[in-house]
């Protein structure tokens, strides 16, 4: 029986039927050193062309049974024999001259292999992040669409509730839970709502102007509401999953930007590695490409921020320093993302420095700077133009990409 055994630097075919010695080695192949990491990588990825090549090189007939130990669940005796003699064999065939050289070369090859595997793993993670972000966008779009439908539908029966309950998820839950108007009692509603709203809603239910609907009509509406609720549950799961992915893939970015904004940055740039190569000034405006082009082509104001505008640090700052805060944030993000690619965790220090910087900005600019009135007017005009331009663009964009507008609506978190 033939056994094909791989080592890092070569492959050995042993003819084994009982005892073992170096004489059992029927054929061997020593790999060119520069190819070794790639050969090991192919084996790990299950790309086994090399096995066929070796068989051909050694003139093994097709019918010949060869056990490739690398693919077996259990170790084989010839395999152990080769593993006992990895150094001896390598020395014998001129791969190493000393044990030290054996160790150093092995370290070199496995390091290269590990880098190849890591690159692939990180690309796979990026793809998972990007798909999850898109799935969440789709889900938000669907949820808005379905929720609007539910509102219209149920308003045939209980129109007053539409105005009273603004949040889609809550609306669907109430429909599912109470359904019939007589169920909307204050005490029961209090479990879901602040007492003031509970009072208003129960009152509205009693004096509703909606049409009567049959059990059958209502039960279908309830079914629809239940599906919406289960989509919200799915959404929660996706958000949680995305958080885990982000935590594992880009802990610095996740800490600084939060998982959803961080994921959005990765998805807009197409990957963590690419994001890490962008200068801070670009990170600052990712997601504001339209405004950026308007700036470049039409001389409008440059955009101060793209998606990073969602960041709480910017949101909580007064408008006149938001641009500065955005720049400080973008700088730290750029550093953090690079550390993520490199595998360092430095987000705590970065966050501290960022907070300090924001405090400094706030102290330095306690109120809007007054410009000379003329200049300011000019600016205003320009700004207006730009806004119009933007609106036009947005409308166009909406038609081609329906989802975009909806995003902000369903999701506070997103």
């Amino acid at each position: 029986m033939y056994y094909l055994i791989f080592t890092s630097y070569g492959a050995f075919l042993l003819d084994y039927n009982g005892d073992l010695s170096l004489e059992n080695i029927k054929y061997y192949k020593i790999f060119p050193e520069e190819d070794i990491p790639k050969i090991m990588y192919d084996l790990r990825r299950g790309n086994l062309q090399i096995v066929d090549k070796l068989k051909e090189e050694w003139n093994l007939k097709d019918g010949e049974k060869v056990i490739v130990e690398y693919l077996e669940e259990e170790p084989t005796t010839p395999g152990k024999f080769v593993r006992e003699n990895v150094y001896t064999l390598g020395k014998r065939y001129g791969v190493f001259n000393s044990y030290e050289e054996f160790i150093e070369k092995t370290n070199l090859w496995t390091t290269e292999l590990t880098k190849l595997l890591m690159k692939e793993a990180s690309e796979r993670k990026d793809k998972l992040i990007i798909q999850t972000v898109s799935a969440l966008d789709d889900l938000d779009e669907t949820l808005n669409l379905f929720s609007e439908r539910l509102r219209e539908w149920y308003s045939l029966y209980f129109p007053e509730m539409d105005k009273i309950i603004k949040k889609h998820e809550l609306y669907a839950k109430l429909v599912s839970q109470f359904l019939k108007r007589e169920n909307y009692t204050r005490t029961k509603l209090k479990e879901f709502l602040p007492s003031k709203t509970a009072k208003i809603l129960s009152k509205a239910a009693k004096s509703s102007m909606g049409a009567e609907l049959s059990e059958r009509d209502l039960s279908i509406i309830k079914e629809f509401a239940d599906q919406i609720i289960s989509l919200y549950n799915l959404r929660d799961k996706l958000v949680k999953y995305l958080e885990e992915l982000m935590e594992e893939t880009a802990p610095n970015l996740t800490k600084l930007a939060g998982p959803s904004l961080g994921a959005r940055l990765i998805s807009l740039t197409g990957g963590l590695e690419r994001l890490s190569k962008l200068p801070a000034s670009t990170i600052q405006v990712i997601g504001a490409e339209k405004a950026l082009f308007a700036h470049l082509r039409l001389g409008a104001d440059p955009p101060k921020h793209g998606v990073i505008f969602q960041h709480p640090l910017i949101q909580s700052s007064p408008w006149w320093i938001r641009g500065k805060v955005a720049r400080a944030l973008a700088c730290k993000l750029a550093v953090g993302v690079r550390a993520d690619v490199f595998g360092n965790y430095i987000a705590d220090e970065l966050l501290e420095a960022l907070n300090k910087r924001v405090e400094e900005i706030k102290r330095k600019y306690p109120e809007p700077r007054k410009k000379t009135s003329k200049k300011r007017k000019e600016k205003k005009e320009k700004g207006k133009k730009k806004k119009k331009e933007d609106k036009k663009k947005k409308k166009k964009g909406k038609k081609s990409k329906k989802g975009k507008k909806v995003i902000g609506k369903t999701s506070s978190k997103w």
Partner: protein, 226 residues
């Protein structure tokens, strides 16, 4: 400062403050791996081995009797993480390889930095459940050290021993009760793990509880006699 060899290439270092410390001779002087303290005694640099960060150090300080890792031991290390313990193991074996398997690509990135300096650390990004996938890299070894914090870790040790451990070689395993079963009594869990290991082919020759450094943690040492 005084130094005394307590195991082969493992040293007790007395810095004069009454705290019992151990350390290893640094293979790469003037480089730190995890912020550990380094001291120089008679021209030799030692890295103080922190028992709060390394279960093996904790076990040695808590009275481990059998220490199978020696100068020249070939080691398979499962669950290398960022390299804290592996770096000391590499110091001890000096001119022998420490094949170090780690599962997480992110942590592996940090570990690679450690492997850059210590050439005898051989990085392997892989799953310890699948020994065949690194069977082309790892040779037969004298010791397998396992610290993967997984439910099936005793099985993982046995599986790897079948592939890579010389007969009469040693298995060392760090067992954290909580990562096997959160609610069960740790004593019960340790007993179960001991049984699995014994049935799998290990004769348990030492066992150390590493409180107070880690709670509900033991380190077991077994001889491979399949």
């Amino acid at each position: 400062m005084k130094v005394r060899e307590i195991f082969d290439n493992v040293y007790e270092i007395d810095t004069g403050d009454g705290v019992r410390r151990i350390g290893t001779k640094s293979l790469v002087p003037s480089k730190r791996v995890y912020g550990e303290r380094v001291v120089k005694i008679e021209g030799v640099e030692y890295r103080i081995w922190n028992p709060n960060k390394s279960k093996l150090a904790a076990a040695i300080l808590k009275g481990l009797k059998v220490m199978p890792i020696k100068r020249g031991s070939k080691v398979l290390y499962l669950g290398a993480s960022a390299g804290t313990t592996p770096s000391h193991v590499a110091d001890i074996v000096e001119y022998a390889p420490v094949y170090s398997v780690e599962f997480s690509p992110r942590i592996m990135r940090e570990f690679l930095e450690v492997c850059k300096d210590r050439k005898n650390l051989i990085p392997i990004l892989g799953d310890a459940n699948l020994p065949n996938t690194y069977s082309n890299i790892v040779e037969m070894v004298d010791v397998i050290y396992e610290d993967v914090a997984q439910v099936n870790q005793a099985e993982i040790l046995i599986k790897n021993a079948k592939w890579f451990l010389k007969e009469g070689g040693y298995g060392i395993i760090a067992i954290k009760a909580r990562s096997i079963d959160v609610v069960k009594d740790p004593k019960e869990i340790f007993k179960e793990q001991r049984e699995i290991l014994t049935e799998g082919g290990f004769k348990i020759v030492d066992e150390v509880d590493i409180e107070p450094f880690e709670r509900d943690h033991v380190l077991m040492v077994g001889i491979w006699q399949p």
